[in-house]
Assembly symmetry: C2
Homo-oligomer: 205 residues x 2
DNA sequence: AATTTTTCTGACCGAATGGTCAAGAAAAGA
DNA sequence: TCTTTTCTTGACCATTCGGTCAGAAAAATT
């Protein structure tokens, strides 16, 4: 009676406003962390009143969780695109490129994720277990197969993935530091060339 | 009159309690971020009353800033230890080891730093400019010299440093994720072997 | 147009939080 | 021992924050 009915499909206004709220929340959560973000800030950013925010979402936490759930999918997409039938070296390097591209195109998402994991992933532990882990296990097996077939140099697949994630997301997550140290210089192309060489040298059998 | 005199040298009790407070604050700030940390939590962790905390520090922010300033020194120590007269490849790989070792021995410090930079380094921007940047500029020149002398493969020094920081600190900052994906397996030795190989292959001329 | 349903908001509320203060307890100094 | 200084705390305070609610405004439905 006081709720956007969970049965009916969402109205035009509902779709528009939920989108506005989630976009504003992404901005605020990624910039201030979960505790640093306030409903008032999100409301202001969204151009809506605070009670109206709470008309569309049950509370601060639900907004955050919704954001994280949505993120997980797009965040893992590049990993899912690795083609088991492709040329191993090309596939991994293309994955590095996709991750770097995402870090550049979606820095807020990267920081939202980083913030959550930094705090111990209190609101995302189940997702890590049920969504991320199986996908990583599968990918690890694939890479092990490629290594065994002599298509890639001997690497521990999970540590390889950690290295790829760490180096690509670093440009989004530590942007404040990168900007200080690279003042003005073109970061993106330099990063791409560097990571390309690094993983090429690491993985060439 | 209400302040630990800034002129006199600190008493035995002052030294002990300031240390307790900073240690407790490191624990709390690194686990919850600046906003998520509360004086009550810090006080409880330190085993002191809240007003007593505020007898030794002017406020929450001063504790945080003190912590960051102290951190900066020990954090950059491994970089300062690079010997310009040493064997280039050995020097860089030893630096990687030191950073990985720190990530393992001082994860709270790593997360404190990560938290701060993630939020845009609001309380540390000056330090990054005045302390970190000059040191990085100097190190970059050193590495460029080594590259020009054919002692190292051609790399962009700053991106190399980013890669080293990102990959080593990842094990502390994203520990929650690493633990999920590596359940039980020995992380430390695997990481060391992996990073060793990665940077060896990258930097071998 | 009349009615029902959805969307929106001003005014509030209780809890949490950073911080203050007067005065007591403990050390240190004489 | 007596006095002074340092250290400690219970009781408060003002603000912020997540959240509620009654009812107004706007859409949709009839």
């Amino acid at each position: 009676m006081n709720d956007p009915s969970p049965i009916r499909k969402p109205s035009r206004i509902q779709k528009r406003n939920r989108k506005r709220i989630l976009d504003a929340a992404l901005e605020v959560f990624s910039a201030h962390g979960y505790r640093g973000a306030t409903l008032d800030l999100i409301a202001a950013e969204a151009g809506l009143s605070k009670p109206n925010i709470l008309y569309y979402f049950e509370g601060k936490e639900e907004i955050h969780v919704t954001l994280l759930n949505q993120l997980m999918d797009s965040w893992l997409a590049p990993l899912r695109e690795i083609d088991p039938t492709g040329e191993p070296l090309d596939e991994v390097l293309a994955y590095v490129h996709r991750k770097l591209e995402m870090s550049h195109a979606l820095p807020r998402e990267s920081r939202l994720f980083a913030n959550e994991v930094l705090q111990g992933a209190p609101r995302m532990a189940p997702h890590l277990e049920t969504v991320l882990k199986p996908l990583v296990d599968e990918t690890a097996e694939l890479i092990e197969g490629w290594v065994a077939a002599g298509k890639l140099a001997a690497v521990e697949p999970r540590h390889l993935l950690f290295s790829i994630w760490a180096t690509t997301q670093h440009y989004a997550d530590f942007d404040a530091q990168v900007r200080v140290l690279m003042d003005g210089a073109d970061v993106k192309d330099g990063a791409r060339a560097h990571l390309d060489m690094m993983f090429l040298r690491l993985l060439t059998p």
